[in-house]
Amino acid sequence: MLKKLVGGILFTTFTFSQTTVNPQFSVIGDLVMDHLHKDPSLLTSGIEIAVQGYVNPFARADIYLHKHNDDSPIELEEAVMTIERGLPFGLGLRAGKFRPDLGKINQSHAHLFPFIEVPAGMAKILGEEFWSATGVETNVFLPLPWYSNFSLGYFDSGISSHDYSDYEKDEDDHDHENDHKDKDDHNHDDEKDHGREKQTNAFSIRWSHFFELNNVNHLELGLSGYSGKAEQILGADFKYKWRPNKYRSLTLQAEVLQHSLEDEYMEKAVHPDEKLTVAYAMVNFQFNKAYNFGVLIDYWSLGLADDEGMNPSIFFGFSPVEESAVLRLKIGQLERENDEKNHKKYLKTTIQIIWSLGPHKPHRY
């Protein structure tokens, strides 16, 4: 019902508000290679196509399509209409399929990560491609002396419909099987996800604060919550940035999510009070207009099962002309479960090349 309503809104908006001005098109391609894959050939992760523009003076539409380098069909990542001006009481509204305002990292597209891949711990809750769902989200500035934004969303598919066990399974498959099998599994899992999406509705909330400490120091703090079918997630996030000029910046970012599990995790029975806690912390230093390096600590824990893991990694980036072409390198530990208690650790090296075609977008904090 919600999907039909949102689809109807988007269709009506596009049909009746379309003007002679074309939307902006941009394409981002990436090429990823890592040494854990037995096939030494380069693995193209795929391309993201973005179509963006105003539908009228108050609303904007953003559509993101993603195509993996395999036989899978083009995926609709996001198709969302955003009304930022025009609603009463300073309300903002998003409707369509999009990444809900839950935590800091969930709204970021993967090509923006300086550390190339989704932190494995976060993927255990949000899924490898993060939580994207169809729904409606409204947000409002709170009347405080600093920037304080509160958002509330309702969605037709919860996080569990993404099944975080897929991430582990995909990673294991990479280690043991050839890439073609990986891709088949991925497709299969996607289909499985879509089949489940209609089963759970979910709410999300986020309360974020931004402080301009001075001209070069900025701090953002956020609290998030999620409620799905008999499951809850609580989260907190933090970002600090020091940017004295265009050649140097230091970013510290950390986020923690705690997922109350029911009685099962990764198809294994767990205590009903079990909680999965995941977190990451990142330091990223831009030491030149084009170069940056940093450290990522990726953590997860099942408290009652006394089972936890931590993967440190270092990363390096080179972007000679803004972000029209970016080369990234990451060397880090990858931890996988061999059995219930034993985790085997690998050293994984990943190289990524990203290119973008189309208008350069201004950077949001």
């Binding site: 001006r85 609603l87 300073g90 903002g92 920037y147 974020s208 931004f210 084009a290 201004p362 904090y365």
Partner: protein, 294 residues
Amino acid sequence: MRTLIIIMSMISFLFGKVRIVTSTTDIADIAKIIGGDHVTVTSIARGNQDPHYVEILPSYMLKVRKADIYFMVGMELDLWAQQIIDGSRNRKVLIVDCSVGINKMEVPTGQIDASMGDIHRFGNPHYWLDPENGKLIARMVAEKLINHDSKNADQYQANLTQFEKDLDSAISIWTKRFSNLKDKDIIFYHNSWPYFSKRFGLKTVDFLEPKPMITPSPSKLNQVIQKIKSDGIEVIASESYFSDRAPKFIASKTKVKTVKLAQSVGAIESADSYINLFETNLTILAKAYGVSYD
């Protein structure tokens, strides 16, 4: 009772003002002059910041949230402004593009693409660096203020007349005092200065950037060094936000002098107003060339 009257007067004083937000400090300074005591003015970009790339901070949206008028530079220089305005949820703000009415320079012809660097399809957007264009910006600001706050129209008109008179007088003085800069060859880091050069007669012979916003490459630096040596170019000027490394490297290989100019109000301490922006830059250049300017 007296306290209440004072409080009411203060509230009226604060809330009766026209709230203006501008993309850059240059337009902000002009808006302050035209608006006087009847306006509050906030600039998003700082004077020493590269106006091409401003990271959009959530706090900027808060600044625009209650604004009555937003003055943009336009010509795709401050593309970031639209996201700030949208994010502010302010549905009443009047958005004004100050580039309307400017006689635009370097408007590209034919197809343009990213192979040309960060080229602006509507022409070079650094138009505020010609003081004559400052008058056009001031007229735009006055017109919008008069429409928005007609009860103070006379004051805005008087402030505009005075500003134009002051600027005309300054231009006349600068033209005479700095006439020795005329026809001097100069190399700029970035192509921010065509309006300034045209007004004061400087001859731009090259840029350190091989293409707009592309970092100087070793081959480009070598080419510039050869040009300086063969043509006897005396000065390299760069915007305050660029690194000194490339100009200093060239200076170490040649006898060229390197200077930093204020691309906007506040970029350099002495460039603390729109009129002082030109006074500062012209004085820096005259000193670098070693010409008299008194």
